[in-house]
Amino acid sequence: MPESESTNTTLLETRQLECVRDDRLLFRDLSINLSEGEILQVEGANGSGKTSLLRILCGLRLAEAGQVLWQGEDVSDVREDYYASMIYIGHLPCIKGDLTTLENIRSLLDTRSQSAPIEEIDAALTKVGLSGFDDVPSKALSSGQRRRILLAFLLLSKTRLWILDEPLTALDVQGVALVESMLMEHREAGGSAIFTTHHGMQLPCEMSSVTLGVQC
């Protein structure tokens, strides 16, 4: 009898991905299967191609060979659909110093054609520990606080798939705990996530992992 877990549908799938950077083979024949409610950690040393892999999964970077499939279809064919259901947060801040916290969140959501009522934004800001900072220009915030703006954006986007590149960068201990609890809630709501990190992240749940940089 199949377990309830195995009935979960596959969201994102890669087939024989190969990535070469500056004439260096980073990985080859990489096949990943991510189903609904699954959390996947990409591991590997510096320069092993973690960021490249995530950018390939987003369709920002082209793989030398192989395919990325979203619900069984090539992502370049269903780009609109795929981008509406995923969110990528890289290690660059994406935050404009001249805009306030609230304006930054609004403009990030606008880019995705989403909007949120002010109460919801307030609630998200409170959750990430930025309540009272909504009218402060972001250049006056610390880098950890700027990362927290992105966490609020992540909460408000309500997408099924999170792709996070080093989400713990610049965050303090409470921030790390916050990201962990966000991932847990996201998983309970049926969402999936792929992330990379060098910090230890302890999630009280099953977590798959893929390790790059092992010679194949």
Binding site: L60, R61, Y88, R112, S113
Partner: protein, 223 residues
């Protein structure tokens, strides 16, 4: 889709008004260059009247060229460009919004200040309208075509020289027809041909340049 266009346009305008010194740069450059000519060459009306169309057009062109860097550089450096590319909206629409914002902030002020400089350079009154119209049709093309070059060079450190090499040849037809229209109008002749040419190039650039820019941006991001 229209909403995404409007929101991005509004964001770029708001950002520009938050750092006003940058906003004034192209305009100040334009005014300075034009005002230096009478000092360096000759203040006599006959000389200036002959040079005026060329001087004003060349200054406008260089002023736009110098401001092009602003179009995508900041978004590239802070990662916002990735978010634009991951938007469910077509990238072409977002590119068009960014180019519109760029033109409103650089091209339009040039058009508005040009009559003042034209009077200063002894351009006959009947040619001032033509100068404004030629700039109104020409400067959006400079922004649109420039965007293609910027999207190709945004990842290159100090890509300014490369950008000029890519873009200047494409700017030359606009410069020739724009300056020629003002020249011809000063002699009291019809400028229908030149204006139709500028209009046609604008229509062409408006329909094709955002597509090329969007593709170039995806190529830049994939490195």
């Amino acid at each position: 889709m229209l909403k995404a266009f409007y929101h991005l346009l509004a964001r770029d305008l708001r950002l520009a008004f938050r750092s006003r010194h940058e906003l004034a740069n192209p305009l100040i450059f334009f005014v300075l260059v034009v005002t230096l000519f009478p000092l360096a060459v000759s203040p006599s009306a006959e000389v200036l009247r002959v040079m005026a169309p060329g001087v004003i057009w060349v200054s406008a062109l260089l002023s736009v060229l110098l401001s092009l860097d602003r179009l995508f550089k900041q978004d590239y450096e802070d990662g916002s460009l990735d978010q634009l590319m991951l938007s469910p909206n077509p990238l072409v629409i977002l590119v068009l919004a960014k180019v519109c914002a760029h033109w409103l902030l650089t091209g339009l002020p040039l058009v508005l200040v040009a009559p003042l400089l034209a009077m200063f350079m002894y351009v006959p009154d009947e040619a001032i309208g033509v100068l404004m119209l030629s700039l109104l049709l020409g400067t959006p093309v400079l922004s649109l075509v420039g965007a293609i070059g910027v999207s190709l060079t945004v990842a290159v450190n100090r890509g300014g020289v490369l950008l000029s090499l890519i873009i200047l040849p494409l700017y030359i037809p606009i410069l020739i027809f724009g300056a020629n229209a003002v020249d011809v109008a000063s002699d009291g002749m019809s400028v229908r041909g030149q204006m139709l040419f500028l209009g046609a190039v604008l229509a062409l650039a408006l329909s094709l340049a955002p597509l090329a820019t969007a593709v170039a941006l995806r190529i830049t991001a994939s490195r």
